[in-house]
């Protein structure tokens, strides 16, 4: 270990940082004698970079040499950047020493493709195998599966990794072909399929034998770049929704395109990354996963893109005024989740508390309901004055998007009478 390692670490971190995933959730595994570390089911962030993203895992590449030439990637073959390769012993020591100091929750290992996908995958598998079997490391490992790697290697990797991921990057095959001539959908979806097969098989085996090995217990994730191609949010969300229907897919990440290779004219020239769009996509993703929305309710052919000004749930509510107002004292949990300003937590609080008595607006406020939004969509113990049906969706939209309100309006806005 010397300053040389520091240089390599910096170079490889620079290369790995555009991968969004940093979750360390999904597996709970206590310590066992003779091993180092444990994992906690909810995941722990140990630091946050200045862009506000969490640092939970030591996110690093084994090497940033790459034989592919994907237009959106900083490590593409034709880029003139510093290249480095970490040795297995350096990587293992870094991981364990950082882990022991509580800097990280585990390792996120990925790599540029060297020689061929199988050769690269084999090197990755060797590192995690070494870490698990020789150094008895028991913390979290997220391993990138290389597109085009063979099933045998994915099957072996799955025995040591907690989570595996293959990045789709571009939500549309034609665009992918144009930007990354060496890749196609098949090479990405195939390893996903292998991971899924391995995980399902292991679940089946563990029903019969308690000691059967676990296979990628925290499932798999993937990532899509937003704004590098003309694909609409409808394309992106349809693909995510399709992926979420597959049994082991836990997360789809969206990464606002950051122009790393400005010279490439196949890519749009953006002044700044599409951060708002990325945020809206995450909100829509949450609606799919936790709010029981289906993808056609969020985007359809008449609204192929998400509204950047308001969140997707509010936008759905404004398009469906007939569903409102919802009476929070009687409505089903599913319906409560559809009210703008009510989240999963407050919906659960409402459902449990209303057994004890009728709820009023001040109680809802204390439970964390965002009354600024919710007031137009609910009735509770008090009589509603101005719900969306009296005010019209356009007016509600204007009220919620205008930052400053005039004093005169305030009187009209008192939402409830006692």
């Amino acid at each position: 270990m010397n300053d040389n390692v520091l240089e390599k670490l910096k170079t490889l971190a620079e290369s790995a940082k555009y991968d969004v995933s940093c979750a360390s959730s999904g597996t709970t595994r206590g310590h066992t004698k003779g091993t180092i570390g444990s994992t906690s089911g909810w995941g722990i962030c140990h630091s946050f970079t200045e862009d506000g993203r969490c640092v939970s895992l030591l996110k690093i590449m084994l090497t940033n040499y790459c034989m592919y030439d994907c237009a959106y990637c900083i490590n593409r073959r034709s880029n003139d950047i510093k290249r480095a390769t970490l040795s297995v012993s350096e990587l293992v020591e870094l991981t364990i020493e950082f882990y022991r100091r509580n800097y990280i929750e585990g390792l996120f290992l990925s790599s540029g493709v060297v020689r061929n996908p199988d050769y690269t995958m084999e090197r990755l598998v060797r590192v995690v195998k070494d870490l698990r079997l020789v150094h008895r490391y028991n913390g979290y490992i997220h391993l990138k599966s290389i597109p085009g790697a063979s099933q045998e290697l994915v099957n072996e990797a799955g025995l040591y990794a907690d989570r595996m991921s293959v990045n789709i990057e571009i939500p549309n095959e034609a665009s992918l072909k144009r930007l990354a001539p060496d890749k196609n959908f098949q090479s990405v979806l195939q390893p996903m399929q292998y991971i899924q097969q391995g995980a399902l098989q292991s679940l089946e085996e563990r029903k019969r034998f308690r000691s059967a090995p676990r296979f990628v217990p925290a499932g798999q994730s993937t990532q899509m770049i937003v704004g590098a191609t003309p694909d609409t949010d409808k394309d992106i969300l349809n693909l995510s929704s399709y992926l979420y229907q597959r049994p082991t897919m836990k997360r789809v990440y969206y990464s606002g395109y950051i122009p790393v290779n400005e010279y490439d004219n196949r890519l749009p020239a953006l002044k700044q990354p599409p951060l708002v769009r990325e945020n809206r996509l995450y909100q829509a993703d949450w609606l799919l996963r936790f709010y029981q929305f289906s993808v056609d309710e969020i985007v359809d052919s008449s609204f192929p893109n998400l509204d950047l000004e308001i969140d997707p749930k509010l936008s759905w509510a404004l398009r469906h005024p007939s569903q409102f107002p919802v009476d929070v004292n009687v409505a089903d949990y599913e319906l409560l989740l559809r009210i703008p300003g009510v989240g999963v937590k407050s919906a659960k609080l409402i459902v449990t508390s209303r057994r004890f008595g009728r709820l009023s607006s001040w109680q809802l406020k204390k439970m964390g309901v965002v009354m600024k939004k919710a007031q137009y969509f609910i009735t509770c113990n008090e009589l509603p004055m101005h719900t969306i049906n009296e005010l019209t969706p356009e007016r509600v939209r204007a009220l919620l998007t205008n930052g400053t309100r005039k004093v005169d309006d305030a009187q009209l806005l008192i939402p409830f009478t006692y």
């Binding site: 971190a13 310590h31 862009d51 020493e97 950051i258 439970m367």
Partner: protein, 254 residues
């Protein structure tokens, strides 16, 4: 106005609940030993902490509310907020008097308030778990300073005992001047007189391991390379990583 004076311990509070029910007299105000009483009051009741009485109250609560709600009480107590004792008293009284468990009645202001306090204590506990940075000492022990807002050190021990079960560590709360030492078997509460660290929790040069500074440098280098310049967002950064933790984090030090 009835005033109860007790020793400001959790057991003392449980004893106060017992005595209140025994004498059918409920306090309007709870005072510690050293607190000045208000100018006018009708009666001052002195509570003598009694483990038998407090155990009876605890067992009684066990029958009335679920375990998860029960353990919110000592956790909320660790917040050390002014007035939390009166809130806990009111909560326990409601729990005892109600015909069925009140723990899910979040429409009730006291139940909601307790949930809020418990949540903020739990959040602080998580933050300590997130932002503890161990430093290796010459004798191979791992040391970290913390300064949590609430007294959450007892709540994080289980996590660290599980995770770092094969290393000796010492967690020290510099604000409350006590800590816990783990010797690879059990944790013991310690109080250190000779402080071998500076105001930023950094170990003195002669007590830190030789490669400690190098690993801090590596971590700092890694951390600064991870930032994507195009996305810098100081507000979000401070929201996720509150400034009060910065002085203990090697990556945030100058």
């Amino acid at each position: 106005m009835v005033v109860f004076r007790y020793d400001r311990s959790f057991e003392g509070l449980l004893t106060a609940v017992f005595d209140a029910y025994a004498h059918h007299e409920f306090p309007d105000m709870l005072l510690g030993e050293a607190d000045t009483p208000p100018l006018f009051f009708d009666e001052m009741v002195r509570i003598y902490t009694d483990s038998e009485k407090s155990t009876r109250v605890w067992n009684g609560l066990k029958r009335r509310i679920s375990e998860s709600a029960l353990y919110m009480l000592p956790d909320a107590w660790l917040s050390e907020l002014p007035g939390v004792d009166m809130l806990l008293f009111k909560y326990m009284r409601k729990a005892i008097d109600a015909p069925c468990s009140i723990e899910l009645n979040f429409g009730d202001a006291d139940v909601m308030e307790l949930l809020k306090i418990w949540k903020s204590v739990d959040k602080e506990r998580l933050r300590v778990i997130q932002f503890v940075r161990f430093q290796k000492t010459v004798d191979g022990m791992f040391f970290a300073c913390v300064e949590p807002v609430y007294n959450v050190l007892p709540l994080v021990l289980d996590h660290f005992k599980d995770r770092f079960h094969d290393q000796k560590w010492l967690l020290y709360d510099v604000k409350r001047d006590y800590g816990f030492f783990y010797d690879e078997r059990v944790t013991t509460e310690v109080h250190l007189d000779a402080k071998q660290w500076d105001e930023n929790g950094r170990l003195n040069e002669d007590s830190a391991a030789t490669d400690e500074l190098f690993f801090q440098k590596l971590w700092k280098g890694y951390y600064s390379s991870m930032t994507i310049k195009e996305r810098i967002n100081p507000r979000l950064h401070r929201q996720n990583l509150p400034v009060r933790f910065w002085k203990f984090l090697p990556e945030k030090r100058k």
